[in-house]
Symmetry: D2
Subunit: 318 residues, 4 copies
């Protein structure tokens, strides 16, 4: 499904087709606008395009996705060398009920829906269409496109809101998902080693293996953060898979590798852990300024280094 003629430095891979939540995430990326967008079938394909140099970046779901693949994405980032996260995007996960123009809600007897989307809007459907039937779809977008198949028996489809830009459908109902606050977190992944500039509202992602499985080694890992005032926004243990009881940790921390406190925590982590993978520093999707105690300011780190340098050089202390 790749387009061999596309300029890889101008190509973005995403879980397609047009209309998915993943595409909605990609629409948030200013530098991707007007470039080639490469629709693929799953996370593995998306990252393979990037690794092979056929795409400059891939948009993948990394947390709470209704399109699946989150665990696969985390494990892929942990095991495929050379990948970096360069941006984070949030997409409100909600569903619309759509039909061919002219259809009314009362006419709907059969609903086409991806099984996961169906499960997540089942409450609304049972309340409003108590006698409906369900036809499964291979994806959220195909649920809607299949309405136009000649042999389709479905009267309506559960679809992402973006579907209205792709198809001539009528929206019979909005916000039919059972959880009105559902959000999926996406990351843009590339092989570029250039780090997005520090903004003060940044996040840094890491994969860390513990030196052993003794009680206390997780604690020792976290001390590397807390002793520098670095907050975590995500921590998740994942079995490494090579042996019983060994784990790696997916960690998101608040701050940028160019923040002194983060850089120093990374140094501590690298000394402590047999394997620590830097997945990138990037602007937070929520643009929220990182708050931290002033005792972890860059100046404090710089001053301490100056002080130590003075001692080591034999100069009098200030």
């Amino acid at each position: 499904m790749t387009d061999a003629s596309a300029d890889p430095s101008e190509t973005y891979a995403y879980l397609g087709p047009a209309g998915t939540f993943t595409e909605a995430a990609l629409k948030q990326v200013p530098e991707a606008q007007g470039k080639t967008w490469l629709s693929v079938n799953n996370v593995g394909e998306a990252l393979a395009e990037v690794v092979a140099g056929r795409a400059t970046a891939a948009m993948i779901a990394i947390e709470n996705s209704v399109e699946g693949g989150v665990t696969a994405a985390q494990d892929a980032l942990a095991t495929i060398p050379g990948l970096r996260i360069v941006g984070e995007y949030l997409v409100k996960v909600n569903f619309v009920l759509v039909a061919k123009p002219g259809t009314k809600l009362d006419d709907v007897k059969v609903v086409n829906a991806h099984p996961v989307a169906y499960a997540q809007s089942r409450g609304w459907l049972e309340r409003n269409l108590p006698d409906h039937g369900h036809i499964p779809a291979a994806s959220n977008v195909y649920a809607a496109t299949s309405l136009f198949d000649a042999d389709s028996n479905a009267d309506a489809a559960v679809a992402p809101p973006g579907i209205v830009d792709q198809l001539d459908v009528e929206v019979l109902a909005r916000d039919i998902g059972d959880n009105p606050n559902a959000v999926t977190r996406f990351v843009l992944v590339s092989t570029s080693k250039a780090i997005p500039p520090r903004t003060g509202a940044d996040k840094t992602s890491l994969i860390v293996e513990l030196p052993d499985d003794e009680a206390g080694s997780l604690l020792a890992m976290l001390e590397q953060f807390s002793t520098r005032g670095v907050n975590l926004s995500l921590i998740q243990s994942r079995p490494i898979g090579d042996a019983l009881g060994r784990y790696r940790f997916v960690v998101d921390l608040e701050g940028h590798v160019e923040d002194e406190r983060v850089a120093d925590a990374l140094l501590g982590l690298r000394r402590f852990s047999p394997r620590v993978l830097f997945l990138g520093s990037y602007h937070r999707a929520d643009h929220r300024e990182i708050e931290y105690h002033s005792k972890y300011d860059d100046e404090i780190f710089i001053e301490a280094r100056d002080w130590l340098r003075g001692i080591l050089s034999g100069e009098p202390e200030a």
Copy 2:
């Protein structure tokens, strides 16, 4: 889909229908054999049956499920009061390619498959059936049952191995999943407050909220474990959802609440955390004996209490 006449103390709810991986997990439960099994559509329904007293227990996927719902399951356990985990079960996740009797692999042109199962066996399918088409199914089991629909165009289906007990199908290929080591972890959930007996190979599950989001509060939480030599086998942050940046932690620890070191850690945790939910102590699915340093033996805790009691009572020390 509930059976009103069933004896709730003899009824087990599970994500059905017969043939799912969840049913395979339930088959591992000795006390469920010969009882009423209630097939439901999703985790929410399964837990609702238990809470309503219509089922004595529900089997739900809690980690790495290909049938979905893991995050929903974790969040449900965190928010629905009164639930307890009473058992843990592992099911090897693999798929078979099945067809109506007499079908040969070479005959297969169209494959029916749940979208997630399809994604996970896509590698095998593309290698062995490069020109196949895909028809989505609402579930892994329906993929196979639909082969017998009069109007079905599919020649084969991707299905769980258990399907052979349900349908008169022929297995065209086994182990077609792309990840040969994939395992899903299931838990049996009930409202019973009786705790399964301590076996020495136990696990305890908790939900813990941190007192605030300061750097260091996660560390302080983990100190409650490490200072008593209690190992964690799972830790996962989950946004609480009521405010930005607040997390709860899903924690599995090695040991039983009747182990002194675990009981003491729970005491420390309860004092530390504004909310800690005990989800249960239960036998580990892998039967692996817990290893811990002898300085955390029950006797050490008991001896220390005797010592303190002696001091407080004014008796001479030994």
Copy 3:
């Protein structure tokens, strides 16, 4: 120097003779008033009287003494079994210059003084009596009493303020010590296992040995305190003496063994350490109310135990 006829339950040993700073500490003990006071020569003798049952308690200097013996006192408490601290007393350490009645400061050519007291008032003496000579004395009190020896060459003596109650001397100058804030901390030591009542302004003294000399074992010890919000007011490493690099720690903590947070810290400590010696809980000499975070209130500990008891008994949670 013991008085064999004294009732041991009514006898207090102290570093004498009358007039010492230690006697000034003993004067602060209400229950010692009107009882037999036994003057001894050093800390070892004082504690020996208590251990032998010839004295009900001994007053000894434990920190910042000008009369010496602090290290010896700490080591004695660590090694002599059965001793308990039952009270704490502070004495302002200052000196007066005294002489036989009729003597004027201008007349003073030779000063009798214990060498340590002399060192501590040397500044004043050199400024005010630049040409004086020094005769050493065996103790601060003997410095003054020797003025009345027939063959004494001294014109004045450096002595504790309490000397005026013992001898018919004239005070030529007050507050001649070089450090106006000097204070010595004394403790009253007995073999009674009865613990002084909790007042809210208490201190608890411990001797703790670390399990080994690895980096981190001191930290692990202190976690036992910090994780229960228990503050230390004194920590001091002392070589154990049986092997290179092994230390015991003299620890004073804020609170009473009947405070839940302190009791729990002691439990943790006892489990952690190969040897922990409870030296007593007693009212603080400065009467300062202990401040601690409300999350370490007794109620929190009691509530947590109730919660755990409910879980273990299989009762429903509140």
Copy 4:
């Protein structure tokens, strides 16, 4: 008592006179041999000579001294700016009983002794000279020199072993101290900012103030050491004296400021503490090689910095 004509770069101050334990420590300093030795009266004077530039260094007792002044020495190092410890020396503290030539032990009726030395050899004296009298002396050396005073009533003196080099005395008994293992630790203090070379058997001395007196700040300080595998050989709380309940800590750690793990711990400490005073890195008196886990090797620190530098520069990781 200073010698104005002495070359300060060639002058060593010590608690004199010749024959003291402090002199015995100074005799262990190769570079001091053949230079001017300046005998002073106490620690304060010794350090004042150094600060004023009249002495190149001063030998002072810092732990377990029978000559007193240890607390004063610690507090002086904490408050007098510009001082550095450049060497550590151990002197076995024992006493000899000496007399004028021709005296026999049986002849001894009166013993001259510094009060502290007397207390420490009282056991031997009472066993061997049960009826002896005691005349106090201003110092251990004067106890012996006074034997030669015309009007002395003493028959023998308790004195340091070094006295035999100073006076024509006969040793009546050796090793009469009650504690056969007693050792005093001395340090050589100068204002030189040059740090003695790293030997692998080094010690580093610090004074650290805690940011506040909350439970946990001492723990946080020690984490700076333990997280880098740095062991402490001494820790002692000392009241700062400016306010109730504030403490500074006298800390000796194993290692040299040029060890990466020590340098990094100092950086962490400096960021953490409102005031940390580097008192020097110097060769250990016991020449014992520092043992530490290989994960704290210099190479580990250097490798981690290289790794971080690669990330920050945008170069591909190795």
